[in-house]
Structure formats: structure tokens, C-alpha cells
Symmetry: C2
Subunit: 210 residues, 2 copies
């Protein structure tokens, strides 16, 4: 996609791609997933409808592109955790930071609320979201393997629920903060961080037991 989009503007291709995806995110968040028309999405991206359709033949293709970009960022964060001198501490700090970000900068919450709702109605969106969830849980399970000293397949089996619960907490803190109208409830944030600690402590306890 990058190369073809580049032909249309003088902006460097990567920056143009980011700009288009950002405009799609904003439009979904503002108009709703069903409410946003292809015309509105194209106009917001500064493209003709015909050209826009070539890159994004469906809303599922847009969600796919948004998810792919977000997953690249997530992958990088987990690479940093694995490379850290103390991966357990780095993972804890990373998850805490992510929860704090979700509750303070919850601008993305309306987008994900829209996409999550659409995922329950439209199998093609559901499939993209399940892939995202699976990949993030995969990264978490590999980090849990590193922390617990268990082989990856066993860590995945034993801590799959821990990974899913951590993802659930991240997602729901953002939605909760947004539902409260952006008011940060710092006691709620602290409580969610204690739940994250509970999850990580259960994983670390396996190591302690040898």
C-alpha cells in the first residue's frame, strides 16, 4: 500500500499512510462504524472515492490496516521487555504504563468501542479482532514463559487465561475512563493496577516454586 499511496502526494509514503489511517480512526470514532459512509471516509482521508475504494475495498480492510499498524507497535514493546535486564519488572512497568495511558488518553476508546461492537455483528470484523487478540496474547504468553522459566507451549497453556485477563483489563479501563467522560478515577486506576499485579504475581509464583 505504501508505495502506491506515495504516488499521489509529495508527503513521504509512511507519513501519508499514517495520516490516512488516522483520518479513518477519527471518522469511525465520530460517526460510528455503520454511520461512517465510504464517501465520508474518503473525504476525510483527502482521497477520491474511487481511489479510496482501491486501497480499502471494505471496512474490514480498514480495520485490518488499523490493527496491523497497532500490532507492530505492540510487537516492539514486547521486544523491549524481552531485551530488558529484568523482563518481569519491565513487563509490569509496561502494563502499568499502558493502563495509565488508557485512562488518561482514552481518545482511542470510542474507536475500539465501535470496532468491538461491530465485531459482534460482523464475522469478518470479528475475525480481525480475534487475530489481534490472539497475537497480543501470544506476545504476553511468550513474556510469561520468559518470566516463569517455563517452555513457551506450557506457558501458553498455563497462562493463556492470564494473558486474556490482562488484555481485558487494558481494554476495559480505556472504555471505563471514556464512559466517565474522561474524568480520571485514580483509585479505580490503582485497583486495576493491583489486578494486573495479581495476574503477574500468579505467573511469577510458578518460577518461585521452581
Amino acid at each position: 500500500m505504501t508505495q502506491s499511496l506515495a504516488r499521489q502526494t509529495d508527503i513521504p509514503p509512511r507519513a501519508r499512510e499514517v495520516e490516512i489511517l488516522d483520518s479513518i480512526r477519527r471518522t469511525f470514532a465520530e460517526k460510528g462504524f455503520d454511520g461512517a459512509s465510504m464517501q465520508e471516509l474518503a473525504r476525510a482521508a483527502g482521497m477520491s472515492v474511487g481511489n479510496f475504494y482501491r486501497y480499502f475495498p471494505s471496512k474490514a480492510a480498514m480495520v485490518e490496516a488499523i490493527v496491523t499498524r497497532d500490532l507492530a507497535e505492540v510487537e516492539q514493546k514486547f521486544a523491549d521487555v524481552a531485551a530488558a535486564p529484568d523482563p518481569a519488572a519491565a513487563l509490569r512497568a509496561g502494563l502499568h504504563e499502558r493502563i495509565r495511558l488508557e485512562v488518561t488518553c482514552c481518545d482511542d476508546a470510542p474507536l475500539w468501542a465501535e470496532i468491538s461492537a461491530a465485531a459482534l455483528r460482523k464475522p469478518e470484523i470479528g475475525a480481525v479482532m480475534q487475530r489481534m487478540e490472539r497475537e497480543i496474547c501470544g506476545y504476553l504468553s511468550r513474556a510469561f514463559a520468559l518470566i516463569s522459566g517455563l517452555p513457551e507451549p506450557e506457558a501458553e497453556r498455563r497462562f493463556g487465561a492470564h494473558a486474556a485477563a490482562a488484555v481485558m483489563l487494558v481494554k476495559s479501563s480505556g472504555m471505563q475512563a471514556q464512559a466517565l467522560g474522561g474524568v480520571v478515577n485514580s483509585e479505580l486506576t490503582d485497583l486495576v493496577l493491583r489486578m494486573i499485579d495479581m495476574i503477574l504475581d500468579e505467573v511469577s509464583a510458578v518460577k518461585a516454586k521452581g
Copy 2:
């Protein structure tokens, strides 16, 4: 509403009201909050569009009616907790049961996903959802007062975050189960129940300290 609706059918008024609200819930869940037209909502309820508009002049009015009915059920559950010989045990059992229901009978998840997403875009829906959240947190805080022996205003202040976190866990377990395509991840359920226990243990600990 009950009385006026009753005039149109031979079904007892209460049953007819329940029937209409159920048809609205189903239509929102299937078509999406924006996707469902007033025509479709009226047809699903077996009413003329004109008549339907008289009862529900807006989608916000429908959400209000759905929320009001659900809150009446929640109120009854909390009355049962307060009347139980051991309110702490009854609350724990009630919350566990609710989480288990959310993950096994998650038919309501698409509806709430739709309404939650709409709440972030439409202030009038957001206001109804905030009222629901506030009322449920109020019931929880009063139960926490009973369990901890603290006066209600102090329990509300100290355990407001605990109440909000319990509501968050209930909501997100249903959405999570639905996102997994209805597959019950019993290890995830158990982990969420341990988080509920963590919340309740923190509340009970206040009592233990006197």
C-alpha cells in the same frame, strides 16, 4: 407506558411491555444501534411506526426503558443480599453467579456493546448509561457499607473504586466471552472470579481492622 400499551392487545400489559423491549434489544443487537431504523424497530415490535414513535420518540428513550427494567432486577438482587443471613457471602455468591452468567449466556453482550459504543458518541445515551452505572455502584456501595460496618457515605467514598471495578469486570467478561465466539474459557472465568474476590477481600479487610 404499561397502561397505554395494554389497550392495543389482549396480552397482559406487563408481558406486552417486556415483549416490546425484548424486540428492541434484539433489533439493536442484530442491526447495530445506528443501523436499526425506527421502521425496523417498530415492525419488530409489531407496532405501526406512528404508534411506536408515541412510546419511543427517540433511541435514547428506548435505552432508558431497557436500563430502567434492568435496574429493577438489579435492585431486587441487592435487596436479597441485604436480607441474607450472611450478606458478605451472599454478595460474593451473587457476583460470582453474575460473572458465570455473563460468560455462558452472553446473548446480551452485542446489545451492550452497541449501547456502550453509542454512549461515547451521543451525549444523551451517555447520560443514561452513566445513570445506570451510578445506580449499580450505589447498590454495591450500600452492600459494602453493610459488609464493612462503615457508614454509607464513608463506604461510598472508600469503596467507590471497588464498586466501579466490579461493574467493569462484569461488563467486560460478557464482552470477552462473546468476542471469543461464545467459547467458555473456564480458566479465564476463574481468574476473573479471583479478581472479584480480591475486590471483596479489600472491602472485608476494613471490617477485620475494626
